[in-house]
Assembly symmetry: D2
Homo-oligomer: 245 residues x 4
Amino acid sequence: MKLIITKTYEEMSEIASNILLGYILSPENQNIAITGGRTPALMYEKLVTKMSGLNISYNTTFYNFDEIAYKRSKREGITISDLRSYFFTPANIPEENIHRLDETNYKAHDHLIQSRGGMDFILLGVGADGHFCGNLPNTTQFFDQTTQVVMSDAMRQNVGEFHFSDPQEYPDTYVTMGPRSVMNTKNILLIANGKEKADIIKRILGGPVDPLVPASILPLHPKITILIDSEAASELDEITINQYK
Amino acid sequence: MKLIITKTYEEMSEIASNILLGYILSPENQNIAITGGRTPALMYEKLVTKMSGLNISYNTTFYNFDEIAYKRSKREGITISDLRSYFFTPANIPEENIHRLDETNYKAHDHLIQSRGGMDFILLGVGADGHFCGNLPNTTQFFDQTTQVVMSDAMRQNVGEFHFSDPQEYPDTYVTMGPRSVMNTKNILLIANGKEKADIIKRILGGPVDPLVPASILPLHPKITILIDSEAASELDEITINQYK
Amino acid sequence: MKLIITKTYEEMSEIASNILLGYILSPENQNIAITGGRTPALMYEKLVTKMSGLNISYNTTFYNFDEIAYKRSKREGITISDLRSYFFTPANIPEENIHRLDETNYKAHDHLIQSRGGMDFILLGVGADGHFCGNLPNTTQFFDQTTQVVMSDAMRQNVGEFHFSDPQEYPDTYVTMGPRSVMNTKNILLIANGKEKADIIKRILGGPVDPLVPASILPLHPKITILIDSEAASELDEITINQYK
Amino acid sequence: MKLIITKTYEEMSEIASNILLGYILSPENQNIAITGGRTPALMYEKLVTKMSGLNISYNTTFYNFDEIAYKRSKREGITISDLRSYFFTPANIPEENIHRLDETNYKAHDHLIQSRGGMDFILLGVGADGHFCGNLPNTTQFFDQTTQVVMSDAMRQNVGEFHFSDPQEYPDTYVTMGPRSVMNTKNILLIANGKEKADIIKRILGGPVDPLVPASILPLHPKITILIDSEAASELDEITINQYK
């Protein structure tokens, strides 16, 4: 594990965009799963700028690692929509380089990834409650799940209401790569910023492996980088910082 | 994770020796930590036979991953003595390709491994109580330890008396690579055989991640192979076998 | 590069089967291209024995790296037929784990391999004339070919008559992975045995990179192992042996 | 091989600095050899900016891959001096993370790199005459050299006078990693810009492997990225660009 602490959110976003770009420019095909949400917004903005004008073909396939469908509308789910507006559309990623995980194909997801050579890189955020992807404190008993469907009640209990303006759009279930699928990735980058993440970062780096803090499993991955701004690092003690930096 | 079930202990030993030999014959330098104990005895016998007469130079460095010193005698500790008699001596491994972990150098162990390019491969056994290396049920609260010294009372409580004929040789402490150090290895092979391991294998593959079963963390490693004979696999159900085989 | 010299052909075959088995047992999916011909015959025999009775699912896909079709018969080509009789059939490799390269699909071959995560391992023989796969002294001007079709006149000039009892079966062309495709593999194992290979082994290990000795390019691969018996090594000098062993 | 063509030198430098930064920020120790000369000047400037203010410890060791000593002065050689002024000093790289290759230690260089886990990444420039590192058209007959000492007459013939203001400082020899050492690196990035490199880039990507064009060997590396600006790409045809981009 490597811990990188930046002064600002802007600097965290710059570094994250560089790391992600490194994978995209690899001479080998890459399978990359990336996160939606607010944390990576500036990172994607920077990445789109860096990629514009490059005369390359993409030998990267991008994946969403969870998906929350709309119950009534036929439109695409929340995660993939996020990724499109943040990244795929402005960066002109060809549709054939985008793989949508959803409720129709999740059962074959881990096998598909394996048949394509494995997941090379996953960019994760972390919730203040310790969730990553859709692995919530009350859905991650054993850490042994692969890609799965989860009852969305769990999400309501943990991370508040869905991001739906219309409550009738609440789905009954959502899909997510499970802890085992994520740990089976070759390289992980976890990003976090802001004071509201300081407590969970402290628990992840210094506390026990605990199903009630799902992200507590992540530091045991052999190739994980945790990239956070100074606010998210504000509750870490010197010993922890020096041990992992 | 890949699960390989062999019919017999002999076959398990044959496969394990082949996998280990593959690392030893790699064109790149390899750092390899290997286990003592009874489980690998036949594997080492087979490996020594396979290696005899090969006109190669060894670009492998071998490590012990734990060590129990004798309190009074000046002789080498239990683990390295095991490895010498099983493997290093009959295979004529040059002394410069052997790194002894002990109480004088354990603090620098993880850093040393990193400076040599990381641990490429670790061969582990597992105790009926779920311990691996010196990580015992009552010493592994957080899974976050690196290479460390442990009070040997813990060992007495868990795995019975030390293997000392003379009780005055009982040391007060022993050293071991911790869960984090082991998880930081690039490839892991866990071997187990016999009915007395059937219950712990079932708990490792099907149960929660639990500090009281230290080896329960291992299936979350992205590149672990679990190689067991049919007796050790006898309590696994078909679903588990088909999921991982 | 690592050079391994065994006393006998039998020992060379044993080591080669162990290395190949190591890839087949990997916890990750593997793409493996393997050679036909006489050199690996005993290796396949040993490999089949080692694999029999293992209760594993194969997450390896096997590939032929060249193919010579029959001109008139509808039967499968020479290479894949060799591989079936030596290995696929006795080892019960499921058909879905076999990918046949032939004249209908060679153009997409390199792209297909990339989309599956790259070729992990290739087992090569070498001809007394320095050819590897179908890369012959008079077809390999620039070393920059990928998988391609070649006029079979070249083969007649170099490696004698085809292995056809009926001359009317001689095809006009054959297909082969080119030097670039082979060099793009993650790991290479080159095997050779017998006095008739001693001269070419000497030229490969000690001579210039020369399109008239196609295999002369191979020692520049970062992860190649050259595994030969003492007869094939009989013209190497001590300096060369010590440099690479 | 992956070919990346940028519009400008500035953009080439930006991308190169991102790729290099990706290795520096790896959670694993990295051995990285980097180039002096004019081509990377802006890249280092950008890299220093990106690295400033990062609260990380460096687990990267940096290497020069060739060295031209001063004959009379006791000062450090030309290459390491270049690297210090461009990068090590402004980026505050600790001295313990810098390994100087010179005439006192070159014989042990390849072995040292291997004992540290291998060279992870090398950043190369290319001369208009096709040289890379100190591998010149008239010193690279067989492509099989490892790190070596070379008579500096060769350099005078090929790349003009040394960069010495005082002719009495001309050394009789210089040291360089040879073609085999460079090809033995895990990942290669070759950068080039400007019209004076257009012809050599064309020959490297489209011509034969030729000892008189030492860099012609590089495209056969399985993990090389060639990153050039539009001027250096100006003599490439569409087929070549589409094949490799």
